[in-house]
């Protein structure tokens, strides 16, 4: 039996949120996740902390309650993690548990387990039956209802291409005595690669879709002493970070969640990037690099008054905003004619509104570029990722020139995962297409 995880409180922001795990590995996963749980006792709340992976940095302080099987809501080992009610934190905790082997629960799955273990009776379960039905049906139709069917249309057309390949390979296996055209491996590979990319793009659009629900991660980066911490303080509206004129003051990353027109933004101040021999500072810089990788959006801060100094500059990409700080001072010649950057003064507050607007514009960009393609359901994301993984397996099997039946294992798996979103393709459907495509039969 697998261990399942889900957010048990309503989505969105609240004072607290409860993430619940149920299954044989609930306790061991939680012990990997949170610190100091050696003495956790059943039915007692234990105060603990969850650290960001690979760091000592605290993501959140949480209360952990352990219910030992069979004395739990589902009859299995259950862990309830009460954390602060920020969508960013919840998302991080869910991601962490999944990376440790839990699986996102299917609709109604906690209740079904409770029912199986006689924790609730049929009458109680009847009440949730409609909920499961509604959600299962919704899983098939959600896209159509929410976003005009574009998602399901996109997945369906990818699915059709995939089925085309399956039909080709199945026919080669089943009808060896028939006079069929040989499957052209190059074109099969090209099709699978493009289907995988299409599915990957959809999964990626989930990242943007998720932004609106759960908030985004924004990292402030730049050379030392360009005013990153001042900007951070300005954005969080209080003196959270220590600000001095000594370059390299910020030695550790520092995070705060702020509200930008209702969208939660998880803002991280980082150590300035420069070559250093200071051990502590270089540890901080390492952490900055990780923050950059994790960030959905990077604010790249430049000292506009600096006429000669070397400024850290990354390749410009869609996920960064270039911020010219210290515009209250004389702007150096090399920056005077620069476009595509936001000019601010963290000191005076000048331009901060423009920066907020630029961050919000990034948030909504997904809507503009991929209108209607935002996958908002975490389960869909999971299924798309899994399907894409299976397609990757199929492509490498193809590259290794393995026999069709092996390639088909991954292709059928991928199709089944997509089918959870759009509705199942049966063997009969595939056979029908085989007979419609090829003249089969002696």
């Amino acid at each position: 039996m697998s261990t399942i995880v889900a957010l048990s409180t309503p989505p969105g922001r609240g004072a607290i949120a409860v993430v619940r795990l149920s299954g044989p590995d609930a306790l061991s996963i939680t012990k990997q996740l949170a610190v100091d749980l050696d003495n956790v006792k059943a039915r007692r709340a234990t105060l603990s902390k969850i650290n960001l992976p690979g760091t000592q940095e605290t993501l959140d302080e949480v209360l952990i309650t352990f219910f030992k099987a069979p004395d739990s809501a589902t009859g299995e080992d259950v862990i309830e993690i009460s954390c602060h009610g920020s969508p960013v934190i919840v998302r991080e905790i869910l991601d962490l548990t999944v990376s440790m082997g839990a699986r996102l629960a299917a609709p109604g799955e906690f209740t079904l387990r409770a029912l199986t273990n006689r924790k609730i009776n049929l009458v109680q379960a009847e009440a949730i039956r409609d909920l499961i039905a509604a959600q299962t049906e919704a899983a098939v139709k959600q896209a159509a209802r929410q976003i005009g069917g574009e998602l399901s249309h996109t997945i369906t057309s990818l699915e059709e291409e995939l089925i085309g390949v399956i039909v080709l390979l199945e026919s080669a296996v089943e009808f060896v005595e028939d006079d069929l055209p040989a499957a052209e491996l190059g074109s099969v590979k090209a099709t699978l690669t493009s289907v995988q990319k299409g599915i990957g793009d959809l999964a990626d659009s989930y990242s943007s879709g998720r932004l609106l629900q759960s908030g985004i991660k924004v990292a402030i980066i730049g050379s030392p002493n360009v005013g990153k911490s001042s900007l951070f303080n300005r954005l969080v509206s209080r003196d959270r970070a220590i600000v001095t004129d000594v370059p390299g003051t910020t030695r550790d990353t520092l995070s705060e969640t702020i509200d930008l027109e209702g969208v939660p933004v998880f803002l991280t101040d980082t150590a300035g990037l420069r070559d250093t021999t200071d051990t502590i500072e270089s540890l901080g810089i390492e952490r900055t690099q990780r923050a950059i990788v994790d960030a959905d959006l990077v604010l790249e801060v430049i000292d506009a008054s600096d006429a000669v100094g070397e400024q850290v500059s990354r390749d410009r990409d869609a996920s960064s905003i270039r911020v010219l700080n210290k515009c209250d001072l004389a702007v150096a010649n090399r920056f005077v004619s620069e476009k595509d950057s936001v000019r601010i003064s963290a000191l005076t507050g000048e331009g901060i509104e423009s920066l907020r607007t630029a961050i919000l514009a990034f948030l909504h960009r997904g809507d503009v570029d991929n209108e209607g393609l935002l996958v908002t359901n975490a389960r869909h994301y999971d299924l798309l990722k899994t399907a894409s993984y299976e397609l990757g397996n199929a492509i490498s099997a193809l590259n290794d020139e393995l026999s069709e039946e092996l390639i088909l294992v991954s292709l059928h798996n991928a199709l089944k995962f997509l089918g959870q979103i759009t509705g199942e393709t049966t063997t009969e459907d595939i056979l029908s297409q085989v007979f419609a495509t090829f003249c089969i039969g002696k």
Partner: protein, 626 residues
């Protein structure tokens, strides 16, 4: 009630289903009668004189492992053997053989005659004798009445058969033989839902009138692989088949004469199989193809008859003769028997339980084409299962069934009884979710123990099976424990040979999975003591398990994730109507099929997510209370 003769089990029809059913029931110790219209045509191949093929060959191997007879009979009478899909993986390879049609028939008759407890009776069954909802006997046209506690109907295309050639139609079960019309009426009176299917067969030619040199010869395998695990070698002299093609000119003539075809004039109402289309269908539906492949298959050593595979047709006989002559190499060919189409009755297989017994009439079993299938192998595996279960039934033993993950036979029967059929049902490997595990080479490992428990596998077969199991165990162990370390000279030699890095240590099992590593290569690396005992089929089986192991696991994970509730059992007494929240239509579907697991219910066409979740909630509640 008085009977002229009484038996435990009566089997009606001596085709491929009937022969297996009668043999199995008799060998289970039940006194059994096999009743057929013509005892000289026992085990007759009505259509293609061949057995096996992809997935079908798997079925024959399963029949053999369970103790059935088809594999042994074809091994003694096959005149061309080929293992199909040799270039692909072991799971989709399958044996196929051309039979000498007459030899097959006489060998089948000999095997049946040599079976204890089995009586052969010739006669036409006109009615079933029913008492209190149970079948108790049969009435024959000649006035005899036989009694039995269990009856297996295996009437093939004979059930209300109607033969079409051009505009001519006549009643018949096969060309030259009468149809079973009264029995069809009898089933209708009992209330069985009956449908109509269609199949067809091509003309048979006089081999002396064929210009063989203009066809491409297709030889069999140099070393034929037998169907039966008990067969050491094939003794029959082997022959060649030949491949040829139709022409676009011939297609034009067919298109111009479609009004002569009962298929296109609307005379035929029954549904034919899409994977076995007539030449008319091929020409109409795939009009862009300029030629269609044909096979010339000699029907035996002592006959001139040649089966023109790929040219199934119901066009008028004289037109068939004209068309044949348009085929390059058949310019002078003469038809011995024209092709024809046949329509016949079938009974909705959703009437059956997993033991192939009807729910409507106790003691009555259906097997083969009456259930909507096509193919000798599909018929034979049902015959075997029906015969076993009829025997079990009269002896008061529990029914025997196979699961989808155990056997193609299990896939086929579950599909039939849960999905019903819209067209003649043929087995395909893609119908089996567990294709990689259900291989022809491991049918014995999957099923022989069942055959033994049932009582169909005799001592010598059981000893042979166990000896192979021992050899396999030794071989598997050797693959795991033979390791090559970087410190050893052999490791370097292997790396040089395979031109790849093998890591610090690699087992022979891991090495065998590498592309380009052949069974021969593996064989040479085995310890000498293991090599001494080795035979090729054992190595194939061990290597196939090794090759597929990881894939089976990934598939298992996916299936567990998506269909984790499939194995939930549905209690026999569960009243679907009593479950609140199910629509009448869904209740009817469930009641017709009576699925025994949630997985079977899920696969019933037309089930909605809502109804499935209702069912799931109820089953989950029921699970631990029983």
């Amino acid at each position: 009630m008085s009977f002229d003769e009484s038996f435990d089990v009566i089997v009606i029809g001596a085709g491929h289903a009937g022969c297996e059913a009668a043999s199995a029931a008799a060998r289970l110790g039940s006194s059994t009668a096999l009743v057929t219209l013509n005892l000289d045509l026992v085990g007759q191949m009505s259509c293609n004189p061949a057995i096996g093929g992809i997935a079908k060959g798997h079925l024959v191997r399963e029949i053999d492992a369970l103790g059935g007879i088809m594999g042994r009979v074809i091994d003694r009478t096959g005149i061309q053997f080929r293992l199909l899909n040799r270039s692909r993986g072991p799971a989709v390879q399958s044996p196929r053989a051309q039979a000498d049609r007459m030899l097959y028939r006489s060998e089948m008759r000999r095997v049946l005659e040599a079976t204890a407890n089995l009586a052969l009776r010739q006669g036409k069954v006109v009615d079933l004798v029913i008492h209190n909802g149970e079948v108790v006997g049969i009435d024959l046209e000649d006035g005899r009445r036989f009694g039995a506690a269990a009856i297996v109907i295996a009437t093939g295309t004979f059930l209300n058969g109607l033969i079409h050639t051009g505009r001519r139609t006549y009643s018949g079960g096969r060309t030259g033989e009468p149809a079973a019309t009264e029995l069809a009426e009898s089933l209708k009176r009992l209330g069985f839902p009956i449908g109509r299917l269609k199949t067809g067969t091509p003309p048979r030619l006089d081999g002396r009138t064929i210009d063989w040199d203009r066809f491409e010869p297709q030889p069999g395998d140099v070393e034929p692989i037998p169907f039966s695990f008990a067969t050491d070698r094939i003794e029959q002299r082997q022959i060649k088949c030949y491949v040829g093609y139709t022409t676009s000119g011939l297609h034009d003539v067919i298109r111009a004469n479609l009004s002569e075809s009962p298929l296109y004039s609307g005379k035929i109402k029954g549904i034919g199989p899409r994977y076995c289309p007539s030449i008319e269908d091929k020409v109409v539906k795939f009009s862009d193809k300029s030629r269609h492949q044909l096979f010339l298959e000699p029907e035996g050593h002592d006959t001139n008859e040649v089966y023109l595979n790929g040219f199934s047709t119901s066009l008028p006989a004289e037109l068939q003769q004209d068309l044949i002559r348009m085929i390059p190499g058949l310019d002078e060919a003469r038809i011995i028997r024209p092709g024809y189409a046949i329509e016949y009755d079938f009974v909705d297989p959703r009437e059956l339980g997993p033991d192939l017994q009807t729910r409507r009439v106790r003691g009555l079993f259906h097997a083969g084409q009456i259930n909507g299938t096509t193919g000798y192998e599909e018929a034979a595996c049902q015959g075997l299962m029906a015969g076993i279960n009829a025997g079990m039934f009269v002896q008061g033993r529990s029914p025997f069934r196979l699961l989808r993950k155990e056997a193609y036979t299990g896939v086929l029967i579950e599909d039939l009884i849960t999905q019903g059929v819209d067209e003649p049902y043929r087995i395909f490997t893609s119908r089996a979710e567990y294709r990689l595990a259900l291989r022809y080479d491991n049918a014995d490992e999957r099923l022989e123990k069942y055959g033994r428990d049932i009582g169909l596998v005799g001592d010598s077969d059981w000893d042979r099976f166990n000896a192979r199991q021992d050899r396999l165990a030794e071989l598997r162990q050797a693959l795991e424990t033979t390791r090559f370390r970087r410190s050893e000279a052999k490791h370097a030699a292997l790396q040089a040979q395979l031109q790849t890095d093998l890591g610090d240590v690699i087992s022979l099992a891991q090495l065998a999975k590498r592309p380009g590593v052949t069974p021969d290569f593996v064989c040479r690396l085995l310890p000498v003591s293991v090599q001494a005992n080795l035979c090729a089929p054992d190595l194939e089986t061990a290597l196939a398990d090794n090759l597929y192991e990881g894939y089976l696991r990934s598939q298992e994970t996916a299936i567990e994730r998506l269909y984790q509730h499939d194995s939930l059992r549905i209690p026999n007494q569960l009243g679907f109507r009593a479950l609140s929240g199910l629509s009448n239509e869904i209740v009817e579907r469930l009641e017709r099929v009576r699925p025994s697991t949630f997985g079977e219910a899920r696969r019933i066409p037309g089930m909605t997510p809502g109804s499935l979740s209702t069912l799931l909630v109820h089953l989950s509640a029921h699970q631990k209370s029983v």
